[in-house]
Symmetry: C2
Subunit: 308 residues, 2 copies
């Protein structure tokens, strides 16, 4: 298998640079007044880091993408691919599970993606998408288990390090492991910690089993972003070799972190985008070397659920 | 009268630096795909730039502030003074009009400010505050017509220029003119444009009359932030001498800009914080030399009014 390398992240950064926003990195006093460096990736086009991997994949495909690409996601990945397609002039067919959040599905359509609703949950949508990709001969863009996608996601951490080289520990949320694997490749020797909700502990279970396993159940307020349910054949070995560890956080900690970010920084993040910050706020990183850098990775959420 | 100078902004920047966040400056494609450089001052402690002027004033007062300070504001200035008092250990009494937004008044209290509600509107609250300041012998912190406050606000524009020296036109919202006057002092030769709602055209009317005049009526979606209603004895001459001009925007343009900022950058700003951006989005700056730098200056708002 072709595992992505740190050099792939460097190449991805050069490749996608014309199309992405270089999102800000800022150091603030976090909960408990401990300084924390946050990468505000909610400011990214499409509202999450997923645009990075999607762009890198479509640009790597080059002429093979011209006839259009297929993906499965009613969430941030679908949005990222739809935006990448819009920017590069590539038609995008997004297969979404019928229960996908309307706000994200509509945003995919606004970005020009052709949405196909599939009865069932994410696995059914993914199966339909793969079948359509095979029958149509168009490339399938996996949400995380793809070397180009992983290298693209790593560029977010690469920028964080460029802007704040003093950071010694990097913390990212884990769904299927695309961002975490990219962080491992970009970290340049720094400690990398993945964070998952207790109810969607995909990489945690994979590390325990020694291989990717399918979660029997996913139950988390961040499930729409971190509910992959199975680590990838590529993301797993990269994370197993390179992550310092996985920390698990409660839904309550995630929502408290989300409220803190609004109260103290006027930033709106979706639950999955706050999971890494929740680990910090919960004191789970108190023993790790600072400064600590946290990627706030997605902001596609209804801000009306934040009050005060 | 002692008018503030560009050197006062430099001194203010040094003085308040330990207490403020250096908020991010980022260049994005704005409406119509024209690049625009935005200073994200909603990320400032207290949720607006007002902390800067308040800190500079309290630090300039030094020992004279130790017994506490008085201010009048149920909005961002009150919040800024309350935060400055919290950070510096100075008791703050904030006189607020009875109709002030609950969200801001509660935030003043959370920051440790002692709130006194005054029947009537802002002028009544300001009168009560001044009387109390006189009778108690404590300093009164004016929301804008104060050389130290103006110099403090100018530090936001100074940072924007440090981070994006290529900016040639600077655009700020105008309420009483504190930020605008600070921008004039910080601009280092660049063009500075002030923006007001049609229904709160305080500086526009002052420039027309050749002196500060009291608006008979204030009616704008941004009134809680930009509704000063009369330019200051200090802010007026600085703005009259240094502003290129005032542009006026409709409430509809302000709310459309607010929605655009959420849709395209996942940033939440209050109406007053979007007024300068609304001028850009309305095409009112199409003839001005770019890059254009816009200060997004306040984010104390109910995010539930943003949908999609």
């Amino acid at each position: 298998m072709n595992l992505p390398t740190p050099e792939d992240v460097v190449r991805a950064a050069e490749r996608i640079q014309p199309w992405i926003r270089r999102t800000p990195t800022i150091t603030i006093n976090g909960p408990g007044a401990r300084p924390v460096t946050v990468k505000l990736e909610g400011l990214q086009r499409s509202g999450s880091f997923k645009l990075r991997g999607a762009l890198n994949k479509l640009m790597a495909l080059g002429p093979d993408a011209r006839g259009g690409v297929i993906t499965a996601s009613g969430g941030n990945h679908g949005l990222g691919v739809a935006w990448a397609g819009f920017l590069l002039g590539v038609p995008v067919h997004a297969f979404v599970p019928e229960g996908a959040p309307a706000v994200k599905v509509q945003a995919i359509e606004r970005a020009g993606g052709e949405v196909r609703r599939v009865p069932g949950a994410y696995p059914e949508a993914a199966l339909a998408a793969r079948n359509y990709a095979l029958s149509s001969g168009r490339p399938y863009v996996h949400a995380y288990d793809d070397a180009d996608v992983i290298a693209g996601q790593g560029t977010a951490v690469r920028e964080l390090i460029e802007d704040a080289p003093e950071v010694r520990t990097i913390v990212v949320a884990v769904g299927g492991g695309g961002l975490a694997a990219g962080a491992v490749l970009a970290a340049d020797g720094r400690r990398v910690i993945g964070v998952e909700p207790f109810g969607a502990a995909t990489m945690h279970e994979a590390l325990r089993a020694g291989q990717p396993v399918r979660l029997a159940q996913i139950e988390s307020v961040a499930a729409d972003a971190l509910g992959a349910g199975q680590a990838g054949a590529i993301t797993y070995p990269v994370c197993a070799a390179g992550l310092d560890r996985i920390e698990l956080v409660t839904d309550e900690a995630i929502m408290a972190a989300r409220q803190w970010l609004w109260d103290q920084t006027r930033q709106v993040y979706e639950p999955g985008g706050c999971a890494a910050f929740a680990a910090l706020a919960s004191g789970l990183l108190d023993g790790d070397p600072g400064p600590i850098g946290v990627v706030l990775c997605g902001a596609n959420t209804d801000p009306g659920t934040l009050t005060r």
